[in-house]
């Protein structure tokens, strides 16, 4: 069995306990659908396909369960994720810069200091979160969980991210400080209890307490309780205690020295003094070594033994005190070998854990053991089980410090760092609201990460209906905004993210989806903006087609209203290089055709007639629309008041009419009459041609009127056309 395994039970249960066999016997099985939104699955009972004939009475329910392999982060966890993602981004910046500036720069003091600072930032956030969650009951992760992250990261910092230049310095004191901060022993209560007694040495806990504070290098507490022995009946003990106190206080510590050589010399001198004390201790006669409660001499000998750095004494004392492998290993570096270096630690630890193994069921312990043993990769594999957050961030730091293999594994195609960072981002993906952070982590993980991020980005819910609503409310105050189809809300965010990571194809796909969605909602202005943002010119053409379709299905009034929504885009698109002509032409036609209908409905017939002719003259009317335009012309031709078309314009109408009819005769009726046929709601070309015959008759009459009335009107009209023709 793998300890990585998560077991998930459905509740309420789909199958009652013990009924699984019956469930399977009945020809049912279980099936599922994966959600692209997060790491959840829809699970449901299904018929086995080889038994499709099962028919139920209809009373049995057919439920679907949603189950997630990851739990969505709670609010406090989200805060932790969000805050630490900022540190992650800072390290990401650093490594990106390093790629430009070379490996040497990555190993420079300046860079090392930044990495160390960021490591300390992580540590601080873990501590804050521990303090914060400890005061809460309903946390998803207990305070103890964050405490374990705190201890692991702190240890990592001590062992692998020391101050620049101190990599090769003795590590004992730093480790002891770490141990004292995170694993406080002996407890304050024990000290309080003992200090309240007149003769504390008569208490069972006195000597163990004194040995423990010595082992932990807590010289103040040790000195205090050695002081209480001044009233002890034994002269020898009183004298020895008095000598021991200054010795404890004067133990040399690395940080008090400028040079390690001085520290080593001082340590050597100090050891000589301890040696002298040992001689005195040995001189105490056997008879005076017991005070009636305890053999004080044995205890004092243990303390001196610790100070001497006697291995077997430290080991035994640790076992007696219930201290673990950590305490034994750290004491080694403080007493046995004061010049113990980081690279020598694994050797020491391997000896210690032979007798005092770490607890394999305690992941925190296992992470510590791997870090102590100089095996960062193993530390990561335990950390991943403790919390994917820890493995990801530690792996990220480890890679920047060149502690783990950077090469990709041939089988999985990922390197160690990317594997853990991706696992964490998959954990984040359980909460769709965290998509920004999810993709930030993914984008840092090579090609696999980039492609995964693409998928996540493309599946972020666009919530376009709410964009529409926002746009509508904006319309009240600022109509221009809505009409120009400003990107808003989530789409704007995703667009920005795509720009940031240079994911142009993804951005375009998202814009296409948005355009399609707006077309469905008849928000043509927005649809057009998105289609052009995607540089999807055929798509833009289809939006315009849909607007033109509105003319056919809903009539000119609706049509002009919809065109008002898309008209502002025209100007912008004409300015844009790369916008493809044919689709822009179609948009121009829609706009001009709407203007024409606007004038028609305003009874501005002269200008309407002018519009109509210019659409033909400028060649922007698609052939499929000629028939419709010609039918529109009919009412203008038949207008009694004035002659609206100059003679030449009427000739243009005639030319186009002739082309439509001739080409239809030649079999291109579909190309020329398609729109007119659907506008008229008729079944074939015959009715459409019949309608066009009406136009021809109107034209014939019009020419007759031109001849009869003379040139006055013609001249007026021609003057208006002069500028265009």
């Amino acid at each position: 069995m793998s300890s990585t395994n998560h077991h998930l039970n459905l509740f309420p249960p789909l199958i009652q306990a013990g009924h699984a066999e019956q469930f399977i016997q009945s020809g049912k099985t279980i099936s599922f659908a994966q959600s692209p939104l997060n790491q959840s699955h829809a699970v449901f009972p299904s018929a086995r396909q080889d038994a499709p004939s099962i028919k139920y009475s209809g009373v049995e329910e057919q439920p679907i369960f949603f189950a997630s392999s990851e739990t969505s982060p709670s609010s406090e966890r989200r805060l932790f994720i969000g805050d630490t993602s900022i540190i992650f981004a800072a390290l990401q910046n650093l490594t990106n810069t390093a790629q430009n500036r070379g490996q040497d720069w990555l190993q420079s003091q300046e860079t090392h200091n930044v990495i160390r600072k960021l490591t300390l930032d992580y540590i601080n956030f873990a501590r804050e979160c521990w303090i914060h969650t400890s005061s809460q009951d309903s946390s998803q992760f207990s305070g103890d969980h964050y405490r374990s992250l705190y201890t692991c990261l702190s240890l990592f910092a001590v062992l692998y991210v020391p101050e620049y230049g101190y990599e090769d310095a003795p590590v004992g004191d730093d480790l002891m400080e770490w141990l004292n901060v995170h694993f406080i022993e002996p407890s304050t209560e024990e000290g309080d209890h003992l200090s309240s007694l007149d003769h504390p040495w008569e208490d069972d806990t006195f000597w163990p307490y004194l040995v423990r504070v010595t082992l932990r290098g807590l010289s103040k507490a040790a000195t205090f309780f050695l002081g209480t022995l001044s009233t002890h009946p034994s002269d020898n003990l009183r004298r020895l205690a008095q000598q021991l106190s200054p010795l404890l206080q004067s133990q040399p510590h690395l940080q008090s020295f400028e040079a390690e050589r001085d520290f080593a010399y001082a340590s050597h001198r100090w050891k000589d003094k301890v040696q002298a004390l040992r001689l005195e201790l040995d001189n105490v006669p056997e008879i005076d070594r017991h005070d009636g409660t305890e053999n004080w001499w044995d205890r004092l000998s243990d303390i001196v033994g610790v100070l001497e750095g006697r291995n077997e004494v430290i080991r035994r004392v640790c076992e007696d005190l219930g201290a673990d492998w950590r305490e034994a290993s750290v004491s080694w570096g403080v007493f046995t070998d004061v010049r113990l270096r980081r690279q020598d630690l694994p050797e020491v630890v391997s000896q210690v854990v032979e007798d005092m193994p770490p607890d394999p069921t305690n992941l925190e312990d296992m992470v510590h053991a791997a870090l102590f043993s100089g095996d960062p990769a193993k530390a990561l594999s335990h950390a991943a089980l403790l919390d994917p957050w820890l493995a990801a961030h530690m792996a990220d730091l480890m890679q920047s410090l060149s502690l783990i293999e950077k090469e990709t594994n041939e089988d999985s195609g990922l390197n160690i760092r990317d594997f853990y960072v991706l696992s964490y981002s998959q954990y984040l993906h359980a909460d769709p609201a965290l998509w920004r952070i999810t993709v930030a982590y993914m984008f840092s993980c090579g090609e696999t990460g980039v492609r995964s991020a693409d998928e996540v980005l493309m599946h972020v819910s666009l919530r376009l209906s709410s964009v529409g609503t926002i746009a509508h409310s904006q319309e009240e105050t600022n109509g221009a905004n809505m009409k120009s189809g400003d990107l808003a809300g989530v789409v704007k965010d995703i667009n920005a993210t795509c720009y940031e990571y240079q994911r142009e194809e993804v951005r375009r796909t998202i814009c296409r989806i948005a355009a399609q969605s707006f077309v469905q909602g008849k928000e043509y202005g927005l649809a057009l903006s998105y289609a052009s943002s995607a540089e999807d010119w055929p798509g833009l053409g289809r939006v315009v087609d849909r607007v033109l379709q509105e003319y056919i299905s809903a009539g000119p009034e609706q049509f002009t209203r919809y065109v008002a929504g898309i008209a502002p885009s025209l100007q912008a698109l004409r300015m844009q290089s790369g916008a493809q002509g044919i689709f822009i032409h179609r948009l121009m036609f829609a706009v001009r055709y709407a203007e024409f209908h606007q004038r028609l409905s305003n009874r501005d017939l002269q200008d309407a007639a002018w519009d109509l002719i210019s659409m033909f003259q400028d060649g922007i009317a698609p052939k499929s629309w000629w028939g419709v335009l010609l039918c529109d012309a009919q009412q203008l031709l038949q207008y009694d008041g004035t002659l609206l078309f100059p003679y030449a314009s009427a000739c243009i109408l005639l030319q186009h009419l002739e082309e439509v009819i001739t080409r239809t005769d030649q079999g291109s009726g579909d190309e020329y009459l398609r729109v007119l046929i659907s506008k008229l709601g008729c079944s074939g070309t015959t009715e459409a041609l019949h309608a066009l015959q009406g136009v021809r008759l109107a034209l014939a009459k019009y020419f007759a009127r031109c001849t009869m009335i003379g040139t006055g009107e013609k001249q007026v009209a021609e003057r208006k056309f002069g500028a265009v023709v």
Binding site: A33, L37, Q426
Partner: protein
């Protein structure tokens, strides 16, 4: 992290009058389409794992049990495909006013259609279908609103499932895409799972305008129930997962376009709670369905024993069961 959890979501009542055969979440995971032996397809809105009561639509049109449903990419609109025992594939489109209408009836199959699958969106709106007589068909929605269809013999007996290859081949180096840059030419290819115990790979030849059998994956000893081609998420090779009546799941990998497919069996004996009697590489019962996750490389497997297990390739390239859900 907790190793045993219980889901808390309230189960959704679908109101289907008979067994559900398939359920699919849409592109955004916001809507659920289900199909059943009661001959209907239903569509629900899903909010936080629950359906909103008012939103259900029932799509009626099939005259037999409906086996599968598939959502098209949203850039083509809200479109669903369903396939049925009645030998038909129906295409449904949601109307602007709400409600669904049938926009296409694909009737070229003359036997029960078991599976439908939409191609990667880069290729256009293309649907592959597989039927019990071993025939495969590919339906293409064209720009002018017309549908084109190809149908051909795929497997000797019957075909249970189809799955499309990603539109771009794995291993192709990617560079930040610049505006206006042409993406690599997409390629049309899919895999089919048959009752002849084989998985076949089909590729479209633009020059002859036809589908050609490119490769055969021979490894199962009984009907292949499901096939799933992993999307190209930047992994260095192609992945296909197959599930079979022979109680195995095989992962097929191909390192480069010219190298052969290599198979590995998932080993459920490494998973928690596995019966000690289980033979290495065998599931306790028939494996019905395999499906890849969207982001990342997680494979979900459903087995006849009522369990769904999730599998992931570890750092050493070994497949491990990372999670299981029991009913």
């Amino acid at each position: 992290m907790p190793s045993a959890t219980t889901t808390e979501a309230v189960p959704i009542e679908t109101a289907h009058e008979d067994m559900i055969h398939d359920a699919q979440l849409d592109y955004y995971g916001k809507r659920l389409a289900t199909c059943s032996s009661d001959r209907t397809v239903k569509v629900f809105d899903v909010i936080d794992g629950e359906t909103s009561k008012s939103s259900g639509h029932t799509l009626k049109g099939h005259t037999g049990p409906v086996w599968q449903v598939a959502w098209a990419h949203p850039k083509f609109g809200h479109i669903l495909a369903s396939c049925s025992y009645d030998g038909k594939v129906l295409i449904w489109r949601e109307q602007a006013a709400g409600g669904w209408t049938k926009v296409k009836e694909h009737t070229l199959h003359t036997a029960s259609v078991n599976s439908v699958s939409w191609a990667p969106h880069e290729l256009g709106a293309i649907l592959a279908c597989a039927s019990s007589d071993g025939k495969l068909s590919v339906l293409t929605f064209k720009d002018d609103g017309q549908w084109g269809a190809d149908i051909f013999n795929g497997h000797a007996i019957g075909c249970n499932s189809v799955s499309w290859a990603p539109a771009t081949q794995p291993g192709s180096l990617i560079h930040p895409q610049q505006p206006g840059a042409q993406p690599a030419m997409p390629f049309k290819r899919f895999a089919s799972a048959g009752c002849d115990n084989l998985v076949k790979i089909w590729g479209y030849r633009e020059d002859t305008q036809s589908w050609v059998e490119e490769e055969t994956l021979d490894g199962h000893t009984d009907w292949v129930r499901d096939v799933a081609w992993a999307s190209n998420i930047g992994l260095p090779r192609s992945y296909i997962a197959t599930a079979s009546q022979d109680k195995t799941v095989l992962i097929w990998t191909k390192d480069s376009p010219t190298s052969p497919w290599v198979k590995t069996a998932l080993d459920p004996s490494t998973a928690s709670g596995a019966p000690s009697t289980a033979a290495a590489g065998k599931f306790p019962d028939v494996v019905w369905r395999v499906s890849w996750s969207l982001a990342g490389n997680i494979l979900a497997v459903s087995c006849g024993d009522g369990k769904v297990t999730l599998w992931k390739e570890n750092l050493r390239g070994v497949w491990e069961c990372v999670s299981d859900m029991s009913s």
